[in-house]
């Protein structure tokens, strides 16, 4: 599949001019931005915030009872949601005071086995939210600075940074549409995306700027390598997603690992976006740049 896809992408890139190459990724980028903006305007947050950032309690137990039964059972508490995941039911509660919290915990632990509880106070959640956003911003700026230091040339560095930004934006818009909440796990995934995203961009830019050969040939070669890189990572992530999300399809007693499941799905989307952004967006900008008449073919021989 990988080689077939590489050949297809390679000929697609060769057959279209830079403007056409940029059109698709820029359209997707704009659409994603629009989704995030609309969501921000309507709900105050571009992506749905998870319990960790909002405060509340999440309790997951092993049970054969239906989510509706549990919702009924704990209706005295601020239960917001109960859903089934394999042999478990995950319940979501709003903020409670210490006394209520304690009662609920005692009741759940007395009734069910294999309990997992996570509780975050609203103040701490707010703090976490600020920290996470700051971390994302600083990471991104740090990455941009390193990229500029590596290439010391504005347009190619800008192309790398733009495609990383687009990867993250698309992944975030996907989270909004699919209803994946922003949690510590998904923040981690977005940060990982910064790292993964620039790998193939740096490879491409490095090959095109610092290697001899025609631009066309260098891009094809870089594509061979870059797509192998991304597909290996994607393969690992798809497997991880499957194992951490649907393990109970194989062995019923196994449990979802929410953290790994969230990380892998966000990364899968982000890397798929990266395939597009690296080989259409970044390639388009870079190809336009190195073939500019003022370089007199310096990068094309």
């Amino acid at each position: 599949m990988a080689t077939g896809f590489t050949d297809f992408l390679d000929s697609f890139v060769k057959d279209h001019d830079n403007r056409q190459l940029l059109a698709i990724p820029l359209a997707v980028f704009a659409l994603s931005l629009a989704i995030l903006l609309v969501s921000f305007a309507s709900s105050g947050s571009p992506v749905p915030l998870g319990m960790e950032f909002q405060g509340g309690t999440q309790i997951s137990v092993e049970t054969t009872d239906s989510p509706a039964t549990l919702e009924e059972l704990y209706s005295d508490y601020p239960i917001m949601d109960a859903r089934k995941a394999g042999s478990r039911v995950i319940m979501q509660f709003g903020v409670m005071d210490n006394e209520e919290q304690r009662q609920l915990e005692d009741d759940v632990m007395g009734r069910y086995s294999n309990v997992e509880i996570k509780q975050i106070g609203p103040v701490y959640g707010k703090d976490l939210q600020v920290q996470a956003l700051r971390a994302l911003a600083i990471s991104f700026i740090g990455m941009a600075i390193v990229v500029f230091l590596i290439f010391r040339s504005v347009v190619p560095s800008f192309a790398v940074v733009l495609s990383a930004l687009s990867d993250i934006t698309i992944a975030a818009a996907f989270m909004r549409i699919a209803g994946i909440e922003l949690s510590l796990g998904t923040v981690a995934a977005l940060l990982m995306l910064i790292g993964y995203s620039v790998d193939s961009d740096i490879l491409l830019t490095n090959r095109v700027l610092k290697r001899r050969g025609t631009v066309e040939e260098k891009v094809s070669r870089a594509m061979q390598t870059g797509i192998t890189m991304t597909t290996t990572t994607l393969a690992a992530l798809v497997v991880m997603y499957a194992v951490s999300t649907f393990p109970y399809l194989i062995i019923p007693s196994l449990t979802q690992i929410t953290l790994l499941s969230q990380i892998s799905i966000v990364l899968i989307i982000g890397l798929a976006a990266d395939l597009m952004n690296t080989w259409l967006l970044n390639t388009g900008i870079l190809r336009w740049y190195v073939l500019k008449p003022e370089f007199r073919g310096r990068f094309n021989r």
């Binding site: 990988a2 080689t3 092993e62 304690r102 915990e105 005692d106 632990m109 294999n114 309990v115 997992e116 509880i117 996570k118 509780q119 975050i120 106070g121 103040v123 701490y124 703090d127 976490l128 920290q131 600083i138 990471s139 740090g142 990455m143 390193v146 990229v147 590596i150 510590l184 981690a188 940060l191 990982m192 910064i194 790292g195 993964y196 620039v198 790998d199 740096i202 490879l203 610092k210 290697r211 061979q224 390598t225 192998t228 890189m229 290996t232 990572t233 393969a235 690992a236 992530l237 497997v239 991880m240 194992v243 951490s244 007693s253 196994l254 449990t255 690992i257 953290l259 790994l260 990380i263």
Partner: protein
Amino acid sequence: MSDKKSLFKNVRVIIFIIALLASIIAIQPGYSPGEGTTSNLNYGLDLEGGSWLQIKLQGALAQVDADSGMIVSEMVEPVIGAPITITENNLEGNGLSGTEKSITFTTNVPVSSSELELLEIGRVSVDRLNQETTQVTIFTSKESLIRLYLASSLDSEVITFDEGEGLVYEIRTAVSEEELEALMAEVGGSVLKNEDGTSSYKEGVSVQTRDLTRDILNDKLNALGLKDIPVRTVGEDYILIDFAGIDLATAKDIAEKPGKFEIRINTTGTETRHVLYGDSIVSVGIPGFHDNQWHTPFTLNEEGALALQKVALETGAVDNPNAHYLTMYLDENVVYSAPLSYSAASQLKNAPIYSWQASTGGDEEAKAEAQALQIHLRAGALPVNVVLVGSGHVDAALGEQFKTEALIAGLLSLLAVAGVVFRRYRRPEILIPMVGTSISEVIMILGVAAAIGWQMDLAAIAGIIAAIGTGIDHLVIITDEVLYEGKLPPTKVFVSRIGKAFGIIFGAAATTIIAMSPLVVMGFGALKGFAITTIIGVFIGVVIARPVYGVVIKEMLEAGEASAARKGEISADE
């Protein structure tokens, strides 16, 4: 044969092998029939089972100013029940360091010095000037006045410290900037601005206070015989307590239950008599050195001071202190024992004593003892107000399940990667070094984790996956660079190609490390673990493992091509 020799003489390969062996020794994998597989790895709560509590320390730091006269009026008038007039005040301004600073006021009601000394403002001298006027002089400083004013209006401990940027008041309870501003305005003052015009108010407590709170919690939990409950500070004003193997309800009980502090006095022989419990201790000061001794100051409330006086009188400790030691216990363990000083003993015959000092001696050991005593005296009472902001619980069986699944996910992911790599290159001599390098990188990350006692939790596992993911990317870059023409180039070209490959790899690794580092500095719990593991992994990969892959792939390909040439069939790969 000569190829193999040169491989093992290569410095990079030697470093790699040593690092790998050291990691395996650090991990100490083993198998014992009873327990299954064992290792030296430390698992986090989400894999081991147990619970955690996260608490926030409430407080505020600010630089403030006020009119000292107004503070004295504010504090003294309710006590004496009449208005006062400030007649002399040399507390304002900085000069006159030699003379004792004081503030003087007059009032038209009689005043006793003891009722004012109860305010603990400072030494008080009272002069009856005439029938109507009483003149009172209080020897104090503006700093103590502000501190006491804040402490009494907020009903909280307030301490001051100066780290070169002016005097900072630490209020050890939650108070908003507006509340503080209003309080200061009442006494003609305000919250000061920093030089850049921003407010000096800051929510939270100082690092010292945070660490003291952590130490007290540690002390308390360990005094209960619960060893190995790590109490860590997280971020600026959070403390995280991990209770491995303890369920959430028990954890909350333990954390909420104050340590039992008790003072007893020897009666006869080894018999002792109860004097007071920890709830009688109002405040504990910072250990200080004077009269060639280290002292830990503490203050008793009315009830405690009276109880101590009563028992000291009844046991005869006031007459013969050396026969009736005063002993302090924390959860039934002796933490301090000494006789009453002669001056204290004679003073007790007349009146209760509120402010006490426990001396420990003059040497370094005594200093440590005084500091430990400060913590012991606090046990049960944390220096700051705390609120529970987060908690969690994972059943041990569930943790075990997570561990198994994470392992399955890891192994299957590696297989998937191997599958893609093989599909692309179709050469075992590339596949084997590549997968081998990845596995050795995992072993080395685990080795570092075991060596530094780093906890493996789900977030750390995600970090390992991130590191291995970029690792495979980098190995693909090296391979494609080396095989640029589809076959192995001559050595000279090979060396320059490897150099180019590493140019790309270092750049990519640097961006990943830079992208993760803000989380290491400011991240909380899970994200911090994730970032540190990723950075360790990327670092090990770039410095130790990937250079060796460059060397090994060359040897493997040369061997492969040599045997292919012998058979007379050079495979055209691309």
